[in-house]
C-alpha cells in the first residue's frame, strides 16, 4: 500500500490498474479538477466583450480540430495538409441540412448536439476515404494526396450552386432548455458547449491512447513493417487514423458553423490547413496536451500582433503596408524558430516542468 497518494515521490504502483490511471497522484487530479472548474466558473464573474469571447471560442474550436490532427500527424505520423477541408466537411454537413430544410429547422436548432456528432461522423467517413491512399503511399507522397483533397474540396464548394458557391450559408440560432439562446449570450453559451466537447474529446483520446486502438497509431508511425509483423494491418490502421482525425475535425467544423451562425468557404482554405499544422507543431506533435498549447499560443500571438499592427498604423500611417505584413511574418518566424529550437513544441516545456516536480521535495 502506497502510503503517500499526493506526491509522485515514493509512490509505488502496487497493481497494474494503478499504473494505468490518467492521474497518478491526488495532486494531479486535484489540480485538474480545480483548473476545469475554474474554466467553467470564470465567465460568471468576469464580464468580457464579445470580441474577446469569440477569440476564446475560436481557440477552443481549434483545440478540437488539433486533437484530430495530432492523432493523424502526431501519433500516426501521416502528414495531413487537408485538415481544414475535414473541418469544412463537418461545417458543410450542417450547411446542407440548412439548404434542404431551411436554416431554422428543428433539427438544426433543437437537435444540435445530435447534428454535431453527425457532422463528426461525416468527417470520419470523408477522412477514411481520403486516407485510402495511405494504404500504398508514404511520407511526402501521402501529404500531397491529402493536399489534393483540400483542393478538390475548395473547388467543389466553389462551383456548387447547392452550397451557394462558397458564400455564407446561414444557420439558425439554437435553443437551450430556457428557449432560444439570445444574441448577447451567444458566445458565452457556445463557450460552455465547446468546453464540454473538448473535455469529452480529450478523455476519449486519452482513453484510446492507453488501449490497443491508440498504441497501433504509434506503431505504424515508428515502423510499419514491424507493425505488420505484430499482427496489425498497417494500411487499415492508417485509414483508421484518418477516420479518427476526420471525426474530431468534423465536430470542430460543426461547432464553428454554429458559433458563426453560418458556413463560408473562406474558413476552410489551404491557408487554414497550414495554420492547423503550425498549431500542432508549436503545441508539440504526438502529445495530447500539445493540442491545447498550440492553438492557444498561435491565436494569442495573432491577436497581439494585430493589436500591435493597429497601433503602429495609428502612430505611423506610412508604415501601414509594413504593419499588414507583420502578421504573416511573425507567424512564419515563430514556426521556423520552433522547428529549429524546440521541434517537440511547447509540450516539451511542460514535460520538463513535470520532470522537475516529479522528484519534489528531493533534488534528485
Amino acid at each position: 500500500m502506497a502510503t503517500n497518494r499526493w506526491l509522485a515521490t515514493g509512490n509505488y504502483h502496487i497493481s497494474y490498474q494503478d499504473e494505468q490511471k490518467i492521474f497518478s497522484t491526488h495532486l494531479d487530479r486535484s489540480i485538474f479538477i480545480v483548473f476545469l472548474s475554474a474554466l467553467f466558473i470564470w465567465p460568471l464573474f468576469f464580464e468580457v466583450s464579445n470580441k474577446f469571447m469569440l477569440v476564446i471560442d475560436n481557440i477552443m474550436i481549434a483545440v478540437v480540430a488539433i486533437i484530430g490532427l495530432n492523432i493523424v500527424t502526431g501519433f500516426a505520423g501521416l502528414i495531413s495538409i487537408g485538415h481544414a477541408a475535414f473541418v469544412g466537411v463537418g461545417a458543410y454537413t450542417l450547411a446542407s441540412f440548412s439548404r434542404v430544410l431551411g436554416d431554422s429547422n428543428m433539427l438544426l436548432t433543437h437537435a444540435w448536439p445530435l447534428m454535431i456528432v453527425l457532422s463528426g461522423l461525416m468527417g470520419a467517413v470523408f477522412g477514411a476515404i481520403v486516407g485510402l491512399p495511405a494504404m500504398r503511399l508514404k511520407h511526402l507522397y501521402l501529404a500531397i494526396a491529402t493536399l489534393s483533397f483540400q483542393m478538390i474540396f475548395q473547388w467543389t464548394i466553389n462551383f456548387m450552386d447547392f452550397f451557394d458557391q462558397g458564400q455564407t450559408i446561414s444557420i439558425g440560432r439554437v435553443h437551450w432548455l430556457t428557449g432560444e439562446v439570445a444574441r448577447k449570450d451567444h458566445y458565452v453559451f457556445w463557450y460552455y458547449i465547446i468546453l464540454v466537447f473538448i473535455v469529452l474529446c480529450g478523455f476519449m483520446v486519452r482513453n484510446l491512447l492507453r488501449t490497443r486502438y491508440g498504441r497501433c497509431l504509434s506503431a505504424v508511425r515508428d515502423n510499419d513493417r514491424a507493425a505488420d509483423a505484430m499482427g496489425m494491418h498497417p494500411g487499415f490502421t492508417k485509414v483508421y487514423a484518418f477516420g479518427l482525425a476526420g471525426f474530431f475535425a468534423g465536430i470542430a467544423g460543426a461547432l464553428h458553423a454554429y458559433l458563426y451562425r453560418g458556413v463560408g468557404i473562406e474558413s476552410f482554405t489551404l491557408h487554414e490547413s497550414i495554420t492547423y499544422l503550425a498549431m500542432a507543431i508549436v503545441g508539440g506533435l504526438g502529445t495530447l496536451h500539445g493540442s491545447f498549447w498550440g492553438p492557444a499560443a498561435i491565436k494569442v500571438l495573432d491577436l497581439q500582433v494585430e493589436i500591435l499592427a493597429e497601433k503602429a498604423a495609428h502612430f505611423l500611417p506610412a508604415s501601414m503596408n509594413l504593419a499588414t505584413a507583420l502578421r504573416p511574418f511573425t507567424f512564419g518566424l515563430v514556426i521556423v524558430l520552433f522547428l529549429m529550437f524546440e521541434p517537440r513544441g511547447i509540450a516539451n516545456w511542460w514535460r520538463i516542468v513535470k520532470s522537475y516536480t516529479k522528484l519534489w521535495p528531493f533534488r534528485y
Binding site: Y16, E19, N207, R210, N223, A227, G231
Partner: protein
C-alpha cells in the same frame, strides 16, 4: 504444435534466383538452424515464411494452413513470430510499449469499450500488462522497462526484439541472426535464452545464424543454403562431415 513445410519454394527477383527449389521440414519442439554464406538466401527464406515475400513457385504450409500468399499480420495470427536481423523496433516508444504492442491481437475489446476504458478494456489491459511483465522477467529486461528503445545499447535492443516476438506467445519463433555483432558473453546470454525458450515455453525455433560453433552446439536439425540452393540437411554431425558444405564454407581448391 504443428510442422512447417517448405516445399519446392523458388523466389525470383528479376533474373536472380534468391531461392531455388528449397525443401524443408521444420518439426515441432526442435531447434532448426539455417546456415549458409552471405547472400545464400537465409533471410529471404524467413521473409517468405513470415509473409514479407511471396514465393514465385512452391508452397509453404503450417499444419493444414497455406502461408504462401499470406500477409505478415495473417501469419502472425497463426502463431508464428519473427525477430528481425536489422532491428525493426518501435524506436520512439518505451520497451514496455513495444511489448504491449505485440499483444495487439490478443485484446478483444472494441473501440467503444476502449473509449470508455473502465470495465472490459481496463481489465484486459491489466492482464495484458501482467503477461508482458512475465516476458520482461523471462528476458531479464527489468532495468529497461521504461526506457525509450532507441536510446538502448545494441545488445539490449536485440534482446527487446526477441522479447517482443516472445510476447506474441508464438508456437514457432523465427530468429534472424539474434547474435550478430555481439561479444562472447552476450552470445552466451542469447544462447541461454534460446535454450530456455525451447524448454520452458515449449516453442519451436528456427535460427538463422553465422556463428557455426553456436549452431553446431544447440541445433537439432540444420539446413545449409548456398546461392539459394539447399546443399545439405541433417543433424549437426551429418553437416560437419558433408563435403558440399565444407566446400561452400572453405572453398574448393
Amino acid at each position: 504444435m504443428q510442422t512447417l513445410h517448405v516445399s519446392d519454394v523458388t523466389l525470383t527477383f528479376g533474373g536472380l534466383n534468391a531461392l531455388s527449389n528449397v525443401n524443408m521440414e521444420i518439426k515441432p519442439g526442435l531447434i532448426t538452424s539455417v546456415i549458409g554464406p552471405n547472400g545464400a538466401g537465409k533471410t529471404s527464406l524467413l521473409n517468405c515464411v513470415s509473409g514479407f515475400y511471396h514465393p514465385t513457385k512452391g508452397d509453404i504450409t503450417y499444419g493444414a494452413k497455406h502461408l504462401t500468399h499470406s500477409s505478415p499480420h495473417q501469419v502472425t495470427k497463426l502463431g508464428i513470430a519473427r525477430a528481425f536481423q536489422n532491428l525493426e523496433l518501435f524506436r520512439g516508444l518505451s520497451v514496455l510499449d513495444n511489448l504491449l504492442l505485440a499483444r495487439h491481437t490478443n485484446l478483444n475489446y472494441n473501440i467503444f469499450q476502449a473509449i470508455i476504458f473502465f470495465g472490459k478494456a481496463a481489465r484486459l489491459e491489466a492482464e495484458n500488462r501482467a503477461s508482458v511483465e512475465e516476458v520482461i522477467e523471462f528476458m531479464e529486461l527489468e532495468p529497461y522497462r521504461k526506457s525509450i528503445v532507441g536510446n538502448l545499447s545494441y545488445g539490449v535492443q536485440k534482446r527487446v526484439e526477441v522479447a517482443r516476438a516472445l510476447t506474441l506467445a508464438p508456437d514457432l519463433l523465427l530468429l534472424d541472426e539474434p547474435m550478430a555483432g555481439m561479444n562472447i558473453e552476450e552470445k552466451e546470454d542469447v544462447v541461454r535464452f534460446i535454450m530456455d525458450i525451447k524448454q520452458e515455453r515449449n516453442t519451436t525455433i528456427v535460427l538463422v545464424e553465422h556463428d557455426l560453433g553456436v549452431v553446431m552446439d544447440i541445433s537439432d536439425q540444420i539446413y545449409v543454403l548456398d546461392f539459394g540452393e539447399l546443399i545439405g540437411a541433417g543433424t549437426p554431425k551429418d553437416i560437419a562431415s558433408n563435403q558440399k558444405v565444407i566446400e561452400a564454407y572453405i572453398g574448393e581448391d
